[in-house]
């Protein structure tokens, strides 16, 4: 019993690490499956970062579309990042987090466009903000928002009508 009390903090850390590792891995795996599936589903909604509509498209209607997601790291990733901060180098544990967030934001932007019957988004921009801060405000909680936005166009005429019709 004494031993448990003595090493309570360490034990708690280990439990949180294990929970964070398994749960975080499960969540990430599921998220990636969902992302891939939806990416296939919305493939026909085209995105470009060009500022002007493609020259073969003569759009008639436009709308600002936006997709946003707030994502947070799990305890394991956070712990590994803490160690990584000391040694330096690539924060591998956070890379997939950002990848997921950005792809999710694009997907939501596409879904926004799709909902309104658009099939082409141009001038896509990203905004990423770290929100941070846990419940107590002491521990820096790695938590950030990614927003993707752009102008969705409804083309009137195009040389590729099959491609730019809403799915």
């Amino acid at each position: 019993m004494d031993l448990i009390l003595d090493y309570f903090e360490l034990l708690l850390t280990l439990i949180l690490l294990a929970v964070g590792f398994f749960a975080g891995r499960y969540v990430e795996k599921r998220h990636y499956i969902s992302i891939r599936q939806r990416e296939k589903q919305f493939r026909k909604i085209l995105t470009f970062s060009a500022r002007y509509p493609p020259n073969m498209v003569e759009p008639q209607d436009s709308r600002l579309v936006c997709g946003t997601v707030v994502i947070s790291s799990d305890y394991f990733k956070q712990f590994v990042a803490g160690l990584r901060n000391f040694i330096g180098g690539r924060f591998r544990s956070y890379e997939s987090l950002f990848d997921r967030a950005r792809r999710e934001a694009i997907l939501r932007m596409k879904m926004d466009a799709h909902k309104n019957g658009f099939a082409l988004i141009i001038n896509v921009k990203f905004v990423t903000t770290s929100i941070g801060g846990g419940t107590t405000g002491q521990q820096g909680m790695p938590c950030f928002e990614v927003c993707a936005y752009g102008t969705a166009l409804r083309p009137e005429k195009t040389r590729f009508p099959d491609k730019l019709n809403p799915i």
Partner: protein
């Protein structure tokens, strides 16, 4: 112009690798680095502190002696303290203490089974320990052990090492962040402080044995001391992991005393000198000892 969205390779933006592999590498690297750094830095700072003249230490520890002194000593306490001071004087003489090093002995009328040496040559002996010892030889072993700490500048080293490693750890943990990883970092640092201390304990034991031999012609009483410590701590039944404890296990110390003395041909037993009347007059300790948490700087 063709208008399409091709699918780029999605694995470019993140690394596919088992997360535990990175975790193991980082954990090993960080812990190893901290361990090496705190050992090196601690050793360096400790050496610098030990190299500084004793009078600086005395100045730093000016307030220590005042704090250790009993508020209103009874005549009996004063008598015991006087005897201990006398014994310390005889021991200092045979231990070749440098001229500028002064040892001040404080007697504490307390049940704690402990004795410790701290900054500025101050030694505190608790009644809880002296009352359990049967003769002057064992008391001399305790005193000589504490004087050896002072002679070897262990309190100064500990202070220097503590300050240096403390600064290093706070710098690192501010780097790592107030995260769980930071806590782990802190714990590893403390571990090195303790293991370093164990070596000092061994050195102090050896110095003390030499002093006993020179004063009495034999090292009898040393093992009695460790026997008392061993029973006081419940025969080591408490969860005491050898690698983590500040002091070597007392059973190990008994064996170490025997082998060290035998190697030098010092008799392990001989005529014991009776305890002085002042010390002997101190009230007997309770039958069931109350084992208290030892202060961090204690050197039993």
């Amino acid at each position: 112009m063709e208008l399409e969205n091709r699918e780029p390779d999605e694995t470019v933006n993140y690394t596919i690798e088992h997360p535990l592999k990175e975790f193991a590498w980082l954990m090993g690297g960080v812990l190893g680095l901290i361990l090496v750094m705190s050992v090196l830095l601690g050793w360096f700072a400790g050496s610098v502190a030990a190299w500084l003249p004793f009078r600086y230490e005395r100045e730093v520890a000016d307030g220590v002696a005042a704090k250790l002194r009993a508020a209103k000593p009874t005549p009996a306490q004063l008598a015991a303290e006087k005897e201990l001071t006398g014994l310390a004087g005889r021991l200092s003489a045979v231990m070749d203490l440098p001229a500028d090093m002064q040892v001040t002995v404080h007697f504490s009328d307390d049940d704690t089974i402990n004795a410790f040496a701290t900054l500025g040559g101050n030694i505190v002996m608790f009644r809880g320990l002296t009352g359990r010892l049967k003769d002057e030889n064992s008391v001399a072993m305790v005193l000589a052990h504490e004087i050896a700490h002072i002679k070897l500048r262990h309190p100064a080293r500990a202070l220097g090492r503590g300050v240096a490693v403390g600064i290093m750890l706070s710098v690192i943990s501010s780097n790592v962040g107030r995260s769980a990883a930071g806590n782990v970092v802190g714990n590893v640092g403390t571990l090195t402080l303790l293991t370093y201390s164990r070596e000092q304990e061994r050195d102090a034991d050896r110095e003390a044995l030499a002093a006993l031999h020179r004063l009495y012609g034999h090292v009898g009483g040393a093992q009695d001391l460790f026997q008392v410590l061993s029973t006081a701590s419940g025969g080591e039944s408490r969860l005491q992991v050898a690698a983590l404890a500040t002091h070597p296990l007392t059973t190990d110390r008994i064996a170490a005393v025997a082998s060290f003395a035998e190697a030098r041909g010092w008799p392990l037993s001989g005529d014991r000198t009776p305890m002085g009347s002042g010390l002997a007059a101190m009230p007997a300790v309770p039958a069931v000892p109350a084992v208290q948490a030892m202060p961090a700087s204690s050197t039993k």
